[in-house]
Symmetry: C2
Subunit: 229 residues, 2 copies
């Protein structure tokens, strides 16, 4: 009479999803095999079809799992009220700084409580793969996830540069997000170029750089010169 999922099955589902994140991130959708994923999850490969109705379903569930856990810092910021009133400009600058810090921290760690979480690396690699070559079945999922972050950033930019057109503001946003996403997506190449396998040793330094570079690039005179933050 029990039509509800069991605790045990939830465990198995979770193990499969986490193994899927790791394996899909390493080898891509086509490169990863369900047998390999199941082996990693210490489960039977037939359970992929049973629980997720196939490989594609497991992939989508893995993405949903990442979205549910990730981007928590940025997601919080995106819920902030609209910028208005006399202090809007100063608020916008602070929000932009917060956005960059939150986004960078989200980029570098999956679980805020555990920066060493191996899922963090994998989840970002998987999202990067997805942004670059979205699967037909998952592009809607991706857009839905990205949209609020874009809106939040654009709202700040609009206040900071009311003289620019919407297209120019989008360019600004593209440059700001682009440097950060490239930083994350090309960590491998960056480490090779720098000859430092541990780069970045200090994330705060990189955050500071992106903040300064972006504010200068935006052309916000009152933000410089001034002491850090």
């Amino acid at each position: 009479m029990n039509a509800q999922p069991t605790d045990a099955s939830l465990d198995t589902r979770l193990r499969l999803i986490e193994a899927a994140i790791l394996t899909f991130a390493e080898k891509g959708f086509d490169g990863a095999g369900i047998r390999e994923i199941a082996l990693r999850a210490k489960a039977n490969s037939a359970l992929v079809t049973y629980h997720f109705s196939g490989k594609e379903g497991l992939y989508l569930e893995a993405l949903r799992y990442i979205f549910a856990r990730k981007a928590c810092r940025v997601a919080e910021l995106a819920t902030a009220p609209a910028l208005e009133g006399p202090g809007a400009r100063k608020d916008a600058i602070q929000r932009l700084k917060d956005h960059i810090r939150a986004f960078m921290q989200d980029l570098m760690a999956c679980d805020p409580l555990d920066p060493q979480d191996p899922l963090g690396e994998a989840a970002m690699a998987l999202m990067a793969r997805e942004m670059q070559a979205p699967r037909a079945t998952s592009s809607a999922l991706l857009m839905e996830q990205i949209r609020p972050h874009v809106d939040h950033l654009m709202q700040c930019l609009q206040v900071l540069r009311p003289d620019l057109s919407w297209g120019e503001l989008l360019n600004m946003g593209m440059s700001i997000q682009g440097q950060m996403l490239y930083f994350r997506n090309s960590l491998g190449i960056s480490r090779l170029i720098r000859g430092d396998p541990n780069f970045p040793e200090d994330l705060e330094e990189v955050i500071r750089h992106f903040t300064d570079f972006s504010l200068r690039g935006l052309g916000i005179p009152e933000a410089f010169p001034q002491p850090r933050n």
Copy 2:
């Protein structure tokens, strides 16, 4: 007695390589099948093994083919003599501008003579895939290709901001290259966000934006304000 490749065989090799670029770019290394590639090239799939000793060999040849044809504009710039003398600073600004324009044009078109070349899109998508998730056999090839561009850019930055440490200069370079590479790698997402499937309608406008944003971000006072270019 003929141990040399025939004209006919060169044709086939070329058709296979170009079909490989298109297919690998669309589906990735694992997603693309040699039968599909061969069909596209109107050739027999056994020829992949015959000419390139396997799928992996064809993939490497495709990368080499891209590197040989692509990045021609940037590559020219990278051969410029060292910056020195009284005009070094002004030269460096111009070189940076030229670098951004050349890099953007290389990003958006494979063959300079034919901006509509479908290989251009595919080649860049393939390189982006490769930068993000380098295959063990091809990372050396990738670094060797990227290195001169990095050196050229860093030389300019060093002249423009002699007060910065090497690490800080690398951060600057990362931001400048990052915004451009993200622009290219995430064109799909950008078009969805903008609701404009034809973005960018005017590449020059984007080049201008990246140039301005980068020069401001670098903190080059004498570059602003001033008329375009």
